[in-house]
Amino acid sequence: MQPQDLLYAKTHEWVHVETDGGSKIATIGISHFALEALTDLVFLELPEVGRQVKAGDSFGEVESVKAVSDLYSPVTGEVVEVNAALPDQLGQLTDDPYGAGWIAKIKISDEAELQNLLAYADYEKQCAEEGH
């Protein structure tokens, strides 16, 4: 996946939406910008499969040596799959954040919320501002 094609939450999670049968599935990860800011990752806590989350809920945690950040769900829905191998291979998260470093898939229950997410250009602008 190319970062240009994704949607972003202000809290630095990316979202890729696919249609699976009748439902929309959001694949979620962490942006390259956020991973750079976190520096060396040491720990990742994934959400449990089957959990219902609301957009903006904390559904996991990512930890570096000096900082810890909550992962916020960009969408409302049910967690249908997680990248279970990822916590043991944190290198994948840094090396391929938009591919092998995906974190969870959520079955979207409110598509309208996708409009609250940022397009790549707008997200880049936000990052540029935060960088200062």
């Binding site: 060396d40 040491v42 720990f43 930890e63």
Partner: protein, 484 residues
């Protein structure tokens, strides 16, 4: 000179069959163990502890000790920690058998001297705080915070008020929001000005009748006294809230101003800072609290009561929040505090603060030419310099400077706290340092800024280890030794 053999791990030095402790033979009739305890309760073998001789142990630990910097050996300007000299007389007196070999459940008739001492300490702390009621029970400053917030919660419960929030400035110690969470409150941050003062507009915006407590550190974590404190207290009180003073920085104001007089309803002391209790490599401290008359009924039990010449421990206090620690608290630390306060008296305590503030301002006046001090030219007992310019000009971070100081025989300041100053270096010299030491420290700081960045980024060079790989330690945590 370093004895690297002796500082191998205990478990590597150990050899089966070596002994240190020697126990007497059993002088009561021997009964087979199986007759005394059910077999399923017994362990088949004793715990696999290491086996060493006494001389090896002494050499091991003595050599390990030399790998620490300490107040006895080095200048230790670790901001916010008040690393002042730890008086030796206090160590001796706190170790008198009549002070130390006392069981917490002894009858009070056999404890009259200690209870008198603790009562005297309570009175002195109440006077210094300007708040009448004291509990010596909390085991550390953070536990004092928690105890006070639990008292606040009980107080509002009695009043039938539902208050869910605790306000803290964004420059607060991390313990403040953590304590608030443990006491069941939500924390709301109030913004600070660049000098670390409370931003009054932001306070006004966030203060309402759902706020139980505003927790403030004054002097604040930048070492500045917030002049607005009277107004802050008034605003908090007008809405029925309580003002909590984090007493971490009491060393600046002993006998000069009192929290109770500037509007605090409750506070904790850090006797291991302000009253010279040894820091012990990370504890024990203590966290006695002082509260207003209205909050006194909620103090933890037991409390010392005096009946004529006799002291008793009172447990029957129906409004008490209960207990936060077993027994009576960190009494050994409190005995040292008592010794410290009795050594100084009223004038001496004031001199402590005057000289702590003098030393800090003197050092500030030198350091500001090397590292900008964003808060200005004046401070109380500590100040925060910023390494941001050095970082952008030469790529040398505050941490690099801190590490290089170790090479010159100085402990580092606190770095990267408070979070509101970039590349923060928080420097607290304390009153027990000489002018010559402060001069030498400032000269060294200057010298370091002249050194090549490569040298600094690799520092320290002379300590027993170079910089540790903290990522590795956190990614694959090894938290105990295991036999291979």
């Amino acid at each position: 000179m370093r004895n690297a053999r002796a500082t191998q791990l205990l478990f590597e030095l150990a050899r089966p069959g070596r002994r240190s402790a020697q126990l007497p033979a059993c002088d009561v009739p021997e009964v087979p163990l199986d007759d005394l305890l059910p077999a399923e309760a017994l362990s088949p073998a004793p715990p696999p502890l290491p086996e060493l001789s006494e001389p090896e142990l002494v050499r091991h630990f003595t050599n390990l000790s030399t790998q620490n910097m300490s107040v006895d050996t080095h200048f230790y300007p670790l901001g916010s920690c008040t690393m002042k000299y730890n008086p030796k007389r206090n160590e001796r007196l706190a170790s008198l058998p009549g002070m130390i070999d006392l069981h917490p459940y002894q009858p009070s008739a056999t404890l009259q001297g200690l209870l008198e001492l603790l009562d005297g300490l309570q009175q002195m702390l109440a006077e210094i705080a300007g708040l009448p009621a004291v509990s010596l029970q909390p085991a550390a400053g953070a536990q004092g915070e928690l105890t006070s917030l639990l008292i606040a919660a009980a107080h509002f419960r009695t009043l039938g008020q539902k208050r869910t929030k605790v306000l803290t400035p964004d420059s607060a110690h991390g313990t403040n929001p953590a304590s608030a969470a443990m006491a069941g409150f939500d924390t709301v941050q109030v913004k600070s000005t660049p000098a670390g003062f409370v931003e009054m507009e932001d306070l006004a915006a966030k203060l309402d009748d759902s706020v139980a407590v505003f927790m403030i550190t004054n002097p604040n974590t930048l070492g500045m006294f917030d002049r607005q404190i009277g107004e802050i207290a008034k605003r908090v009180h007008d809405l029925g809230g309580l003002l909590y003073l984090d007493g971490a920085n009491m060393n600046a104001i002993l006998g000069i101003t009192r929290p109770g007089d500037f509007g605090a309803d409750m506070m904790h002391f850090n006797p291991h800072k302000t009253f010279s209790g040894p820091h012990g490599g990370g504890g024990p401290g203590a966290g006695p609290i002082a509260v207003s008359e209205a909050l006194a009924p909620y103090l933890p039990v037991p409390v010392i009561v005096r009946d004529g010449d006799r002291y008793e421990l009172e447990y029957d206090r129906p409004q008490s929040i209960g207990r936060v620690r077993s027994f009576f608290g960190n009494v050994g630390v409190l005995v040292r505090s008592y010794c410290y306060l009795r050594t100084h008296g009223p004038e001496g305590l004031r001199r402590v603060s005057e000289n702590a503030v003098l030393n800090a301002n003197y050092l500030l006046s030198k350091v500001k030419h090397i590292f900008p001090v964003p808060q200005g030219d004046r401070c109380m007992h500590e100040f925060v310099a910023s390494g941001a310019r050095l970082k952008s000009d030469r790529g040398v971070s505050a941490m690099d400077v801190a590490k290089r100081l170790l090479d010159y025989g100085f402990h580092a300041p606190t770095v990267y706290f408070p979070p509101i100053v970039r590349e923060a270096m928080m420097i607290e010299p304390t009153e027990t340092e000489t002018k010559e030491t402060l001069d030498a420290f400032a000269e060294t700081l200057f010298r370091i800024t002249e050194e090549p960045p490569d040298l600094l980024c690799e520092a320290p060079h002379t300590t027993s280890i170079s910089r540790p790989d903290e990522v590795r330690a956190a990614r694959q945590p090894v938290m105990s030794w295991r036999a291979e």
